[in-house]
Symmetry: C2
Subunit: 582 residues, 2 copies
């Protein structure tokens, strides 16, 4: 898809209508956006609800840029009482750690009525997205796509005739405000399974597009549309015998998903903004925080249309499939596909999931990981109780974020801003990951893993049994400020003998990796990006319940943090303390 | 009621359990409170809902102090994403305008995780309350009582044997977050009438305490309680043949109320923290923002109990009465009153309401108003449309609060922080207040009425017809930082001839006064309190829709504004701009 070329007139129109304008600086462009965030009533799945919007749109506008461009987003908070930040998921923020958009970590929340300017370079082509990273504002609908094309004149290592974007999410009819209160209650009230799955913000509740065709639609009536509903399905208009790129991103609050296109095989080519060794699939899993590009050829009967189906994996699905339509332009878009939607694989067929994850490998020519590590951090994922409250903890510490952003408090050495004691690099080697914790008590904490600059860090994410017997959940872990190499997935507790099995030959670079039930996942990255970076389970309620850690590296090298990023907490006090202005 | 005397041990207990401790400084005391605000699930009217709480309590703890004491509240925001302030309703904040607790006016909202210290003198005995003053957090349940007794050794001008407090509020089952979105939508979605009326945070939904007895209970079943429900009614335990003081405050979001005690006459003695000329009533109206003290004698048959009933006035009531029980200790508390609850007067019997309001006059010996005024400001109250959005406007300006608190932006002369043009002192004298506005368009604005320090200001609040024909609503206007004299209430449009009828002899001092449908209300106050002060309709959704103005006086005399109050917006930028700290 060609980069949008803006004429000066068009530029003005865009500035006014879409809050977008572009300035040209030595080839690379600065792409400016003016965004206002507010709640409005909308009906993403045909049922009316309060939704978080950007410039009135849900999902937010898709940002398109080229590698090397600078994205500049003037973000104005039009909420009544809530703060706001936006995280640019997958963008490493090289040199701009204050623009990472994580409240309490990289910046203070933007107050109502105020504007914060995010300015960062998109250095690497790929499929990214953005989303709220404060409270549970992502779940409330604050998300959108960020597509970075290759530099002008450069080529992707594969060819295609057109492209489509699918942003996947899950949707509840209970407000995230109420969800937050429930999660923080004693006893905890779980948010339950989503009411709907959304594709590009569109789902259908209490009806099924495919009706009786759909084995996962649980006998729901067929949806009827007048034609202009915001919850009408996405239709991908394709020409026969062409190759298309489908960019898919999952920003679900909870659901692990699987995507398939009826009768069409797909070639996996990109994961989290990194090229992978191509391989063919009939369907693929995608966890919250992940992105993929696939190629597919429109080589099926051109007088038919085909379902694109998204279903829940990893948790007993109580949510109907999300559907979109692949429309061959040789027929009419309103013609329902003859074939029923592809079935989603069994939710608990983890062997199948693991087999897929293990096939994702770096495309030859990708950067290789360092051969050895300087530090290996084991992170045990457990469900716990603190004073009766249900929490998730890492090495027995449940993360509670402080009011002063770490980036400022580490830079300015505020030793009272957070626990100065590092959280542990290990857990007790007698811990039985196969059983509920024998002592489920845990503690709150906000300590930081201080990483020596430019060292190689291994993380072994270790899954375990949750509070109830025979329960171990999937957790997709996302790292800010970095890609990591996924060195391998394994069963049970990581042990010395697993070390030899780690893949140092062609491990994929990613920013999100899953741990499977009762398993471990080994990651490696180089702590070469000065800043403070969240590393956390991308399931929104799990993070809310403490499932994350904080890494810091080379913060002394960070210069020119804008005051606006640090105007709260102890850094705010410090910045204001030079003299009494009254 | 005797002041709580705290022994050192008890003091420690209080500090831990109730967040209260007291320090003695030269007779007057500093009363310290440590408060944390959070949402929790509760069931104020027996139906579960999310409620805003202080230290887990709803309503918030009652503050008790003596005139001359200093109240110190360490307020910590434990909300996830929302800012927070608390306004001390009726306290004039002499010398501490930054402690008035109005977001955008006296301070920046307190960010999540942060603590702000409110420190102010309660200079005058009386019945007060406190509440959230940001977004619609008052409606969410953020309120409590503030009772100021006379100085030690001094006496009230009336005698009584005991006292009780009743904090009145109204309650919805829709969250205030959703209400806010609805009010800000086009078309506007009105919040509707409350589901319940609460007395000290307790109401009963879908059942009636009085059952068939209660003519206003609409045939609801009788409530049954096991005994420890948080929504069980308040019981006031009294001894026969005694005199009790009942302190009543209304913090309703919407409802105008009337209160009566079955078979007991009441003597009105205090209004809004000011003594009034005593007069007897069978029932009395109380508007949102008002407080009253009444005395009553327990001179009825001591083998019976009696209902205290609160019902809606001024709007067609769709909400059952709120009930509490007056329990003569000569009988059992569980004995239901023999008499049915007193009926609430007809909602639209405005003649009765006006008659009551006109009886509220200053107790002899109260301060008299200046004989003449320096400036008379007419404030026309109209319902309007701006770009299709329904708003309330004053002299055609619908108030939208800026991100920088006025107290800071006026003090530091930030001319870009708000409209520098004063809003008008008058409206067009041809305006027909009896009909819907011929041109309903209005504009947003955030200009300030700059009042010359120490001058006398008259305000004529002028009511008018709303957008629909034959609709003119009640609006209780509340002034911050001052009491005003209520010089009179009148019908139709205020005119020259009304001037002679103004009461300069014994007008009551109050901080809240109502305008009746199609009528006017004349107020006088002296602009002698350096600061910036909100003056607004105390109906929460009306204020949210722009129904307020801002007064400023003597801001150049305000010294020592704490940096914490100004750490946002342009004042935050200024305070941080001295040098680059990175």
């Amino acid at each position: 898809m060609a980069l949008i070329k803006l004429t000066p007139f068009c530029l003005l129109v865009h500035l006014c209508c879409f809050g977008l304008f572009v300035t040209n600086v030595l080839g690379a462009k600065a792409r400016h956006f003016k965004w206002e965030v507010d709640y409005k009533y909308d009906a993403p799945d045909c049922l009316e609800n309060v939704v978080m919007t950007i410039n009135g749109q849900f999902p937010g506008p898709t940002i398109k840029a080229r590698a090397g461009d600078t994205v500049v987003v003037h973000l104005t908070n039009k909420l009544h009482t809530e703060g706001l930040v936006i995280h640019w998921h997958g963008i490493r923020q090289l040199g701009t750690p204050w623009a990472d958009g994580t409240a309490s970590i990289s910046q203070c929340p933007i107050n109502p009525g105020e504007t914060f300017v995010y300015r960062f370079k998109v250095d690497k082509a790929g499929t990214y997205f953005y989303h709220g990273h404060y409270g549970m504002q992502r779940s409330a609908g604050l998300y959108g796509l960020l597509i970075v094309d290759v530099e002008e004149g450069k080529k992707e290592p594969f060819q295609y005739d057109g492209e489509f974007n699918l942003l996947l999410s899950d949707w509840w009819h209970t407000s995230t405000h109420e969800q937050e209160v429930g999660l923080s209650s004693n006893p905890m009230r779980w948010i339950g399974e989503p009411q709907s799955l959304l594709i590009n913000g569109r789902g259908q509740y209490n009806c099924s597009l495919a009706g009786a065709q759909n084995s996962n639609g649980s006998g729901q009536p067929v949806c009827t549309f007048r034609g202009n509903e915001g919850c009408a399905p996405n239709i991908l208009h394709v020409m026969p015998n062409k190759t298309y790129r489908l960019r898919v991103a999952s920003t679900t609050a909870l659901a692990s998903l699987n995507l398939a296109i009826g009768n069409h095989k797909m070639l996996m080519v990109e994961a989290d903004g990194n090229y992978i060794e191509p391989f063919w699939v009939n369907d693929f899993d995608i966890y919250s925080g992940e992105t993929y590009s696939v190629l597919f050829r429109t080589d099926q009967r051109p007088t038919d249309n085909y379902w694109i189906a998204v279903g829940v994996r990893g948790r007993q699905p109580r949510t109907p499939q999300g559907l979109a339509i692949l429309h061959y332009q040789s027929t009419t878009a309103s013609k329902l596909p003859t074939l029923s939607p592809p079935d989603t694989p069994l939710w608990n067929d983890y062997a199948r999931s693991k087999s897929f994850s293990n096939k994702v490998l770096a495309r030859s020519g990708s950067p290789n990981p360092p051969r050895t590590t300087h530090r290996r951090i084991f992170l045990l994922n457990t469900q716990n109780r603190i004073n009766g409250y249900t929490k998730w903890a890492i090495n027995n510490v449940s993360l509670t974020l402080p009011p002063t952003p770490y980036l400022g408090s580490i830079k300015h050495r505020f030793t009272t801003a957070f626990d100065q004691k590092s959280p542990p690099d290990m857990f007790q080697n007698t811990y039985d990951i196969m059983s509920p914790p024998s002592n489920p008590n845990s503690t709150y904490g906000n300590g930081v893993y201080m990483l020596k600059f430019n060292t190689t860090i291994d993380v072994i994410l270790q899954n375990a049994n949750a509070l109830n017997a025979n329960v171990s959940e999937i957790h997709p872990w996302h790292l800010h400020g970095h890609d990591f190499w996924v060195l391998g997935y394994g069963e049970g507790k990581f042990s010395k003998k697993d070390e030899a099995k780690l893949n140092l030959k062609n491990p994929p670079l990613r920013n999100t990796a899953v741990i499977f039930p009762y398993g471990w996942t080994a990651l490696r990255f180089v702590a070469d990006n000065p800043g403070v970076w969240a590393f956390h389970c991308h399931i929104e309620p799990h993070l809310h319940m403490g499932m994350g850690v904080v890494f810091a590296e080379g913060v002394h090298l960070v210069e020119n943090i804008p005051n606006e990023a640090l105007s709260c907490g102890l850094t705010g006090k410090m910045l204001m303390s030079n003299k009494n202005h009254n």
